[in-house]
Symmetry: C2
DNA sequence: ACATAATGACAAATATATATTGCATAAAGA
DNA sequence: TCTTTATGCAATATATATTTGTCATTATGT
């Protein structure tokens, strides 16, 4: 469960001028879930990843493909 | 939770001459999990998707993009 | 300085991904 | 045939993703 911060997700979200709560709303999950994914403390499901991608206009590879560094 | 069959995953697996059980072994999950993902009856976690991708030499987009599922 | 929004952290509860076991069937080989 | 391998299906059990609620802190704005 030791993942890394998802900077790319955070950047894509900010790019759309969305707060974590707003993105969570559009995607249909809780604010905490989005926050934890950005912090790299979560292992989201594929469907959630896809929903985030569609909301932010990005692909899976663009947002979730190996961010291999530590925080 | 009715998803579409993941044909691309099955093709990539067969391309590597792996059975569901063999792929499951390498990825560290049960045979049923792989089978259900291929049947589109499951919503795997990102880490599992990534493990499958690395084992089969594919990216997330190549194996898991655009099988549109409901909710 | 004060207010409010945005985020991080934490715990307990719920939902669901995944494991485990077993059984059924079809295909391929000996 | 007989045996083995591969796959689907189903029930129960476990692990973990996700929710809900609350509080603290850090911006950001007035």
């Amino acid at each position: 469960m030791i993942t890394m911060k998802n900077i790319k997700l955070k950047m894509a979200r900010v790019e759309h001028d969305l707060s974590q709560a707003e993105l969570a709303n559009r995607v249909g999950v809780s604010r905490q879930t989005i926050g934890l994914i950005e912090l790299g403390k979560y292992n989201p499901t594929l469907n959630l990843c896809l929903a985030i991608c569609h909301t932010l206009g990005k692909t899976l590879d663009e947002l979730f493909w190996e961010e291999l560094d530590n925080e």
